[in-house]
């Protein structure tokens, strides 16, 4: 009797338990893995990053204030922001175009194009800079002298920095948009077309709203990448104080000139922006992929 009374819950429990079990089960291995991972990340990422923060505030807000009062630094920060905004704009417009092209149309060489799109992510920024100098260099590039004769310098001035930045951040937007576009398909657009919407209306009212989050995510990633680009910019910019020195170049310059406080402060500002970007992405993402 006691058996029959006890058994039903005992039988029901394993089902419940089995569903939860892998999450609840804690063996020494679980703790060990957790410890290894936490320690690894702590030593590799968390501690070094936190040190920069403490170094920055060694003397209170002084170093940040000094930074923002230095006119050259302000110009560098403005240039970085200016370049990043342009690169985001260019990459957004063309990223949407390229993604539509890749998803909606079939053409020869599509696979090669698709694969080549990843190139900017895996190629060295120095190589990117070199490549741009070879083509657009004012003295002996392939196209550079032509542009120069029109009174339009690319390398060692702002357009070159924008190009380099756009190059390295190029795949981010496209890689975000392609899966979204593939998922939404064309049915709604076809419906809109049959109801008499023209191409522009279809894009504006159907496609764009559905890829809104993909674009936002792409913009944030591109922004973070653009602000932080260093290698490619170093090659093409010429690093002229107050003219073509971006914030990342200033970090190096300051550090090598033994202005560690200034270097840490600048690094802190840049790190804040990128951490903010990650957090924004983290907030957006769950909405996008429930």
């Amino acid at each position: 009797m006691a058996d029959t009374l006890i058994r039903p819950p005992a039988e029901a429990a394993p089902v419940e338990e089995r569903r939860r079990q892998p999450r609840v089960r804690k063996t020494p291995v679980t703790y060990l893995l957790r410890l290894i991972v936490a320690a690894y990340l702590f030593f590799l990422v968390a501690w070094p990053v936190s040190l920069v923060v403490t170094h920055t505030f060694d003397d209170g807000l002084g170093s940040i204030r000094a930074l923002l009062e230095d006119p050259d630094m302000v110009v560098a920060l403005q240039l970085s922001a200016y370049v990043a905004v342009w690169s985001v704009l260019i990459n957004t417009v063309f990223g949407v175009g390229m993604s539509l092209l890749l998803v909606r149309y079939e053409f020869p060489g599509k696979r090669a194009l698709n694969a080549l799109l990843d190139l900017p992510l895996s190629v060295s920024p120095i190589v990117v800079g070199l490549a741009l100098v070879l083509v657009y260099g004012g003295r002996n590039g392939w196209l550079g002298p032509t542009f120069a004769s029109w009174g339009f310098d690319i390398i060692f001035s702002t357009p070159g920095i924008i190009m380099a930045t756009t190059f390295v951040a190029l795949p981010l937007m496209i890689r975000e948009l392609v899966p979204v576009l593939e998922e939404i398909g064309t049915e709604q657009e076809q419906a809109a077309e049959s109801l008499g919407a023209n191409g522009f209306q279809r894009f504006w009212r159907i496609t764009l709203p559905s890829i809104k989050w993909g674009i936002t995510y792409g913009v944030v990633l591109t922004l973070a990448r653009s602000l932080g680009e260093f290698g490619a910019v170093k090659v093409v910019s010429g690093n002229v104080l107050g003219q073509t020195r971006t914030a990342t170049l200033a970090v190096e310059e300051k550090y090598l000139n033994f202005d560690q406080q200034g270097a840490y402060a600048t690094a802190f500002l840049l790190a804040m922006v990128s951490v903010a970007c990650i957090v924004v992405v983290g907030i957006i993402r769950p909405k996008n992929h429930p």
Binding site: R18, P22, R23, L33, R34, A38, L41, F43, L44, V45, A46, P48, V49, L51, V52, F94, L101, R111, L113, A115, L116, D118, L119, P120, L121, S122, V123, S124, P125, I126, V127, V128, G129, L130, A131, L132, V133, L134, V135, G141, W142, L143, T166, F167, L227, G228, E229, F230, G231, K234, V235, T248, V251, E252, A267, L270, A271, S274, C277, V281
Partner: protein, 247 residues
């Protein structure tokens, strides 16, 4: 299309053309030049070593992030992405503050080879983790339980059930992290000191060639890097197609 060619394809083609302009012999002589060869060797070996570490640590981290639940897990999630978002020069500075000359824990590896290894490890951290994580999340836990109920030990379950489904993701992540390692520049500027034959990596070598106005040499070395990047992309494409074919 035109925009893409103007920005990406033409410049990269220019690199290759400049490199082979002087003929094969010149190209070969440049690449095998003592200092350059040392730089390439250091870069490739370090990147390979770092990739090996990532192949072990990446799935481990992904596993803990997906299967385990504990306080502060979301903070770890953010930590993973930091190396990707942080400007590379800042990454170098960040590492220097802990492992540099005025290190609070007394580890000073600045201007030494481990510095290169450390910098690579930092910047390539997210790749394997982020590739493996979604796969692990989608993995059907029933299969593991079936294996366990048939008497497989946890190790066997891992080796025969989990590992095979993770392999494509690990391969893709490893390829990306290798490519990233080989091409890394920014984080090394401050950390490694760029001593010839010792801690000078390929990217730095290219830059010094450019600064000495020796564009041909720079292009030759750049072509080597470009070839490595292309090889990685081909590997990625093959892996993706194999996964797609399997469904």
């Amino acid at each position: 299309m035109i925009w893409f060619s103007a920005l990406v394809l033409i410049p990269l083609a220019a690199v290759v053309v400049t490199a082979i302009d002087g003929g094969w012999d010149v190209f070969w002589a440049t690449v095998t030049n003592g200092q350059t060869a040392a730089a390439i060797k250091l870069t490739v070996f370090t990147a390979a070593g770092v990739t090996a570490v990532n192949v072990v640590m990446g799935p481990l981290i992904a596993w803990v992030l997906v299967r385990d639940r504990f306080w502060g897990k979301s903070a770890l999630e953010v930590l993973i992405d930091i190396p990707f978002a942080l400007p590379t020069i800042v990454a170098g500075l960040v590492l220097l503050s802990l492992y540099g000359t005025d290190s609070p824990i007394g580890v000073n590896i600045a201007n030494q080879r481990p510095a290169v290894f450390l910098a690579f490890l930092f910047v390539t951290l997210p790749f394997v983790v982020r590739m493996v994580q979604p796969v692990l999340e989608e993995l059907d836990r029933d299969v593991e339980e079936a294996a366990a109920s048939l008497g497989a030990s946890r190790f066997t379950t891992f080796r025969r059930i989990i590992l095979p489904s993770l392999t494509p993701a690990i391969t893709a992540g490893a390829a990306l992290s290798f490519a990233r390692g080989v091409s890394e520049y920014g984080s090394l500027v401050l950390l490694s000191g760029n001593l010839p034959f010792k801690t000078e990596v390929t990217s730095v070598r290219i830059l010094s060639s450019i600064e000495n106005d020796n564009v041909a040499a720079a292009a030759a070395v750049a072509t080597v890097l470009l070839a490595i990047s292309l090889a990685v992309i081909v590997v990625l494409d093959l892996v993706q197609r194999r996964v797609a074919a399997r469904g």
